[in-house]
Symmetry: none
Subunit: 172 residues, 4 copies
């Protein structure tokens, strides 16, 4: 069976490696070897700090929030539901966090494109359900590597985004 897939030039493949699922550098220095990607991921200590910062901001705004943090693979890392926060926001906060990591951008940005007549109309039907209004924000290290995402739901979308951004700011 021919390996047509391997005809992609190695240089092109390497050029693509420089962004994405965590910063990616070939591990091997042997050009004949197949490289493993070097990536980064959020730690639980970081996720704790993100949720603490989001809860503090939510309290400051006198809101009650559901707050979810996912890792670089979009898998749940930590979650808190403040007393009295909406039950329906459990799933929404998780979907916002996943959506932000799925596309490496704030959820509200996707929502601008998924309106009727927009280029991504009804993208929300994919991935078991996306949430594309504000409240989901990627989590980035100081050098810009995305290591996860936070999703917040429980108030206005403006408040949700403000709280998510406050949580994201806890990552240095």
């Amino acid at each position: 069976m021919r390996r047509t897939l391997l005809v992609v030039p190695a240089a092109a493949a390497l050029a693509v490696v420089t962004m994405g699922l965590a910063s990616a550098q070939p591990v091997s220095t042997n050009p004949a070897a197949t490289p493993t990607l070097r990536t980064m991921d959020i730690s639980l200590a970081q996720a704790d700090a993100v949720i603490a910062a989001a809860r503090a901001k939510a309290a400051e705004l006198n809101t009650k929030m559901d707050i979810a943090v996912v890792d670089a693979g979009a898998n749940l890392k930590a979650f808190s539901r403040m007393d009295g926060a909406w039950l329906g926001s459990i799933d929404i906060s998780m979907k916002k966090a996943r959506t932000a990591r799925f596309f490496d951008m704030a959820t509200g940005e996707i929502g601008k494109l998924s309106q009727p007549g927009g280029p991504l109309y009804n993208i929300e039907h994919s991935n078991g359900g996306l949430i594309t209004f504000p409240g989901g924000v990627p989590l980035k290290t100081a050098d810009g590597t995305i290591i996860g995402a936070i999703g917040v739901s429980g108030s206005t979308v403006e408040n949700d985004h403000t709280v998510a951004a406050a949580g994201a700011a806890a990552i240095k």
Copy 2:
């Protein structure tokens, strides 16, 4: 299980009334009126304490755990995934917590009854999937009122249960 919710002292019940979804004393003194249940529910501060206790026990056992806490309504309240803990245990820890609250008993007890030939054979097919091996434990106040449940997954079922029990002990 009998209505353990009704043994809650009125004073304790009143103290909780302002906080939410919870336990059961008739509000009205008018026998003609339809009584509303007074219930009790776990607070986020309690859930934090449960998860902190579980994480400390997991570290003590040199294990890496996924830990979920649900409230009296079996809805997710808090979650932590320790660094390096199994990805497949995210869902299992949540299902253990829900299963424990769904039936107000430790998950391992249900598993004894769901074996081939047993009275609850394949009960795991209900509720979008139950987990009936050890690691899920109800969360009870000092007087026995169930206010939620904890589910732990990431090691042997014995360790999972030990860590869940340590978390549950944080509720006084």
Copy 3:
């Protein structure tokens, strides 16, 4: 497995092209017999070529894509996710490929009809979720028989469609 699919004369195949789910000519010359359909389907070697062409075009455009190929039965045949490509595009690329084969047209064509007020409004709710913006293209043999579809996601819908078309061009 015998390749009965390939014994269909080209002329017969052409006669049927307008009808869709594989070509349909009675096998039997006995008018009393129930005819079996002779169909055509994409081979894995063809799917490899489609994906290699799409990956080459994606690299040329400096994009990172998720690329899915489905067969004549709309079942997944091959898939590649380029390093750093969006996680959310795994499902979208598959849904684009299926959608293109489900209706034997480019996904963007369906999207024109599924807008509010349009004749296929919210068709995305069917089939476990459709994606109806550009990036899905049917795969056709030289004589126009549809043998599968490609779905691409990871950049603008214009780039997605360009890469999908480049992949489709690999089928001769």
Copy 4:
């Protein structure tokens, strides 16, 4: 709001960091800073090599296989269905790959524990469906870091496992 979660000793947290979602070393050398995990992930070039090796072994055994590769986050990276391979094995191969990464072990090992009377009875009901018979194998670098998993389905479970192991051996 008290940060009870942060009372976990830093030393304990760091001790946990050394295994898991790719090898994990704190990025920061400042003990006061919250560390980001350094992880590793499979590249598409590696996934191509894994699938090529599995296809070659499948052909050698005169079998027709569905072959799936997931990354460190258990998200699909690459997939091939050989001509004539079972349609039902598309989902099974993916579930085997995910299951192997979910628990960082060969799927058959889990199946030994999930039998009636076993400690993990009916674990298959979690995670949207697990497959716990042989055919799923973690993908490890030379130093033992798990960077993904392969799942194979289409023949006997013995053949499925043999082909998966041949694919896994392509990672050096």
